[in-house]
């Protein structure tokens, strides 16, 4: 028993240490600390992040503890998932698979170890945010007494079980067939939206996975007691950026009444999490080699399996003569872009291609009333193509081969042009429709989007080194802007045409990434450094 616990401890510890030394973890910690500062503005700061009908609670331990619990679950369910969702496939990518597979560790212990490590990482981030809120309570000085229980109760009742469930989902999505890649990311994003909506409008605590509703309702009830005019706005507290004039009205909230019946509900969540971990262990194939060795390209003519021949140990008589290698006359870009496009589109299944064709043609087939609803969906389908931009060589360890063959900036341009071409291709139907309808402002806004999306993808890929960063930011942006028409976030101009803003942003991103690329290649710094 002790030996088992000790093995589990070291498994969790190694996963945890490796995660905590990553840049993404440090970034999330930095964001948490900043969030702690930004989400607790001074009464005269001129803005609020969370208010109930224009009032808020004084910054006492109960109010800030509740706020921290809500923010932790809502944000970590998105960003924490994307940060931690590839721990198992990461082991395979780093060629640790055979080492783990040949070790005596059982599947359930390995998977549970991964889930536990992810859970601890999430708890650490949650704890950092909590400490940041405590510090802000003391800094703002609206309530002097720091009551630890007021911070710990929502952490215990809400954050802890919710993050456990999330940790189990990070491993499930990493082993469930088909969910490892972009499809899983999109599905989880949809799940996050759905859970968010259900949590806020939860008819009972059973469905309040983010723990928002139990806290929010208690806050709103208290606000209505202090300000009867708000009684019609029960449960209308919301997060966002709300400019305020003068000092905001406040009230004292003593915290939610944490009913022990909640424990049962949270135990069910934990049981569900354990169920997901067990399911993940059952699905986990212990890094078994896929049957790729016998795979023949579907378009290949000879599909019979052949055994690999060794390199013959024959003496080549004299100097080996091969056909001359003829360089392209003139610009190399067309050939490079063509090759890049082939690579980008390679591996896309028929089930991806057919809907893509339908989406491209759809703007020509629907009525004028439906076209605006359709347009955003065209620009989510190529997500898997865009998210590879700037990350592919790092992911597949081909950087050395590529950088010795082509200039890094030329490669960057090639990828950007290919990304723009793909986006243009997907926009073909929409563009024809805009021209036919004489919608020049819409065409201009959409055209800006065509430049903006691949630039954003390449920028985040180059800076972050992982496709997940673009996927999560783009999906969030796309959901709020083109789909839900949040002002200024609609980069496609479906509802809010601001081509100047997005053109400026494109140019800025472009310049920033070119600068970073030049710095990375040692052409901007006085000190030369590696690429």
């Amino acid at each position: 028993m002790i030996r088992t616990l000790s093995a589990c401890f070291y498994l969790i510890k190694s996963n945890l240490v490796s995660q905590m030394r990553s840049y993404s973890f440090l970034l999330v910690i930095g964001i948490s600390v900043f969030a702690g500062y930004a989400c607790v503005p001074d009464a005269a700061a001129g803005y609020e992040i969370f208010s109930i009908g224009g009032v808020r609670g004084i910054y006492n331990s109960a109010w800030l503890g509740g706020l921290a619990a809500m923010l932790t679950t809502m944000l970590l369910w998105l960003f924490g998932f994307f940060m931690l969702r590839s721990q198992i496939s990461g082991d395979a990518r780093l060629k640790l698979g055979p080492l783990i597979a040949s070790a005596p560790v059982r599947k359930i212990r390995y998977i549970a170890g991964k889930a536990a490590a992810n859970f601890v990482v999430l708890l650490v981030i949650g704890a950092v945010l909590l400490v940041a809120f405590m510090a802000m309570q003391l800094l703002r000085g609206e309530a002097a007494q720091l009551r630890l229980m007021d911070y710990m109760a929502p952490f215990f009742y809400v954050t802890f079980p919710s993050l456990f469930l999330l940790a189990s989902l990070t491993v499930l999505f990493d082993v469930f067939p088909g969910l490892k890649g972009v499809l899983g990311n999109v599905l989880f994003f949809c799940l996050w939206i759905a859970v968010g909506v259900v949590s806020i409008a939860a008819p009972s605590d059973w469905w309040d996975l983010f723990g928002v509703s139990s806290i929010l309702n208690a806050m709103a009830r208290s606000a209505a007691e202090h300000y009867p005019a708000l009684s019609s706005l029960e449960a209308s507290g919301s997060f966002g950026y709300y400019p305020t004039e003068g000092q905001i009205s406040t009230f004292e909230w003593q915290g939610a009444a944490w009913d022990h019946s909640l424990i049962l509900i949270r135990l069910v969540w934990i049981a569900a999490g354990i169920g997901f971990i067990v399911l993940s262990a059952l699905l986990f194939r212990r890094f078994e080699h896929p049957e790729a060795s016998s795979k023949v390209h579907p378009l290949a003519s000879g599909r019979e399996k052949t055994s690999a021949l060794p390199l013959a140990a024959v003496e080549h008589s004299g100097s080996l003569k091969l056909s001359p290698a003829v360089k392209v006359k003139g610009a190399r870009f067309p050939g490079q872009v063509k090759a890049e496009l082939k690579l980008m589109l390679k591996g896309m299944s028929l089930w991806w291609t057919l809907p893509a064709i339908v989406l491209i043609a759809a703007p020509l087939l629907v009525t004028a009333n439906s076209v605006d609803s359709l347009l955003p969906f065209i620009m989510i389908w190529p997500l898997a193509i865009w998210s590879q931009m700037g990350t592919r060589d790092q992911h597949y360890f081909t950087t050395g081969l590529i950088l010795s063959s082509s200039s890094p900036l030329a490669k960057w341009w090639t990828e950007w042009l290919s990304g723009v071409f793909i986006t243009l291709l997907f926009s073909a139907g929409a563009i024809i429709r805009f021209v036919a309808d004489g919608e020049m402002p819409a065409l201009l806004a959409w055209g800006t989007g065509i430049l903006f999306i691949p630039t954003l993808a390449l920028a985040l890929g180059t800076l972050g080194g992982s496709k997940k960063l673009f996927e999560v930011i783009y999906m969030l942006w796309w959901y709020m802007g083109p789909l839900n028409h949040v002002p200024s976030l609609d980069f496609l101009g479906v509802s809010d045409r601001k081509p100047a803003l997005y053109l400026t942003l494109t140019v800025f991103l472009f310049a920033a990434v070119i600068t970073v690329r030049l710095w990375q290649t040692g052409n901007l710094s006085i000190r030369r450094r590696s690429i």
Binding site: K342, L343, S406, S407, S530
Partner: protein, 291 residues
């Protein structure tokens, strides 16, 4: 055709990976030999224009490649020690992609790819996805990509890793047949790979160039210093602590040890003809480096 390395140093923060390397290379195979951590791969990455020297310069036909890397890239073939491939491409598609990056015309690239796949015995597997290739087969694809543009400078870093003994001989023969009119730099820690094809050897240790000489000169430097001793098993650890032992073979009469030493290690020791491996071990261990 000339590659000149002039006083090249490379540091990563406070860590010095290379110190003042100077070397002039002409057509033919140059073997780069050294223990792990000697700085071979760092030097190769700089020669392959992937990294830039902290100090000194590398010139290709008189042009500084830090300032104008493209001049060398056009004539460069590089096989890194660790490299990946795009798993959802076939070798044919992968090589077409690399050929495009190297700026080769599609038609000439296709012909050359077919020839290379034939030579490297990959023709039958040309339409299989790279994701299912064995390590040795991937290594051969790597070799093929390095030869795509008929490079004047071919840099191969541990190229025989993953190849079986027969394939290693095949690769060495291939390299020999290519060496006539180009500079080939072959880095390895397998002495026999270098011995059979490299007429000159650069020996590196602790980020420095220790020796640059022909194999026979290196061997000559340890003539009369290689001894055969038959030892009882119990005394082996003591001898290992005192001398550089290049091999130890268990026999019925004791352990036959091959010792490289200036002095006769024991009264019954007999002289043996020196090999390149002995010379390598002697030189490296005399610098206090574990070979």
């Amino acid at each position: 055709m000339e590659l000149q390395i002039e006083q090249v140093s490379k540091s990563y923060g406070a860590k010095h990976a290379l110190s003042s390397i100077t070397l002039k290379l002409k057509p033919g195979v140059t073997g780069l030999l050294g223990p792990n951590g000697a700085g071979k791969s760092t030097l190769m990455r700089m020669l392959a224009t992937i990294e830039k020297p902290t100090q000194g310069r590398i010139t290709w036909n008189g042009v500084d490649i830090a300032g104008q890397p493209q001049v060398l890239r056009k004539e460069l073939g590089y096989l890194p020690q660790d490299f990946g491939v795009y798993p959802n491409l076939t070798p044919l598609e992968f090589l077409e992609y690399i050929a495009a990056m190297k700026g080769l015309s599609a038609r000439s690239a296709r012909t050359r790819i077919n020839e290379l796949l034939e030579i490297l015995n990959l023709s039958n597997d040309r339409k299989r996805l790279l994701g299912g290739f064995s390590g040795g087969m991937r290594q051969r694809v790597g070799i093929a990509q390095s030869l795509l543009n008929d490079p004047s400078l071919l840099i191969v870093d541990e190229p025989t890793v993953g190849l079986d003994p027969g394939e290693r001989i095949g690769f060495r023969n291939l390299l020999s047949s290519l060496s006539g009119d180009r500079i080939i730099i072959l880095s390895t820690h397998i002495v026999t790979d270098i011995e059979s094809i490299a007429p000159s050897i650069a020996l590196m240790a602790k980020g420095r160039l220790v020796k640059y000489a022909a194999p026979e000169n290196l061997i000559q430097s340890v003539e009369q210093k290689v001894w055969n001793c038959i030892l009882p098993a119990a005394s082996l650890p003591e001898m290992q602590a005192k001398y550089t032992i290049s091999s130890a073979i268990q026999r019925s009469d004791g352990i036959h040890t091959r010792i490289v030493s200036d002095l006769r290690p024991s009264a019954n020791a007999t002289l043996l003809p020196a090999s390149l491996e002995d010379a390598y071990l002697y030189t490296v261990s005399s610098l206090g480096v574990q070979p």
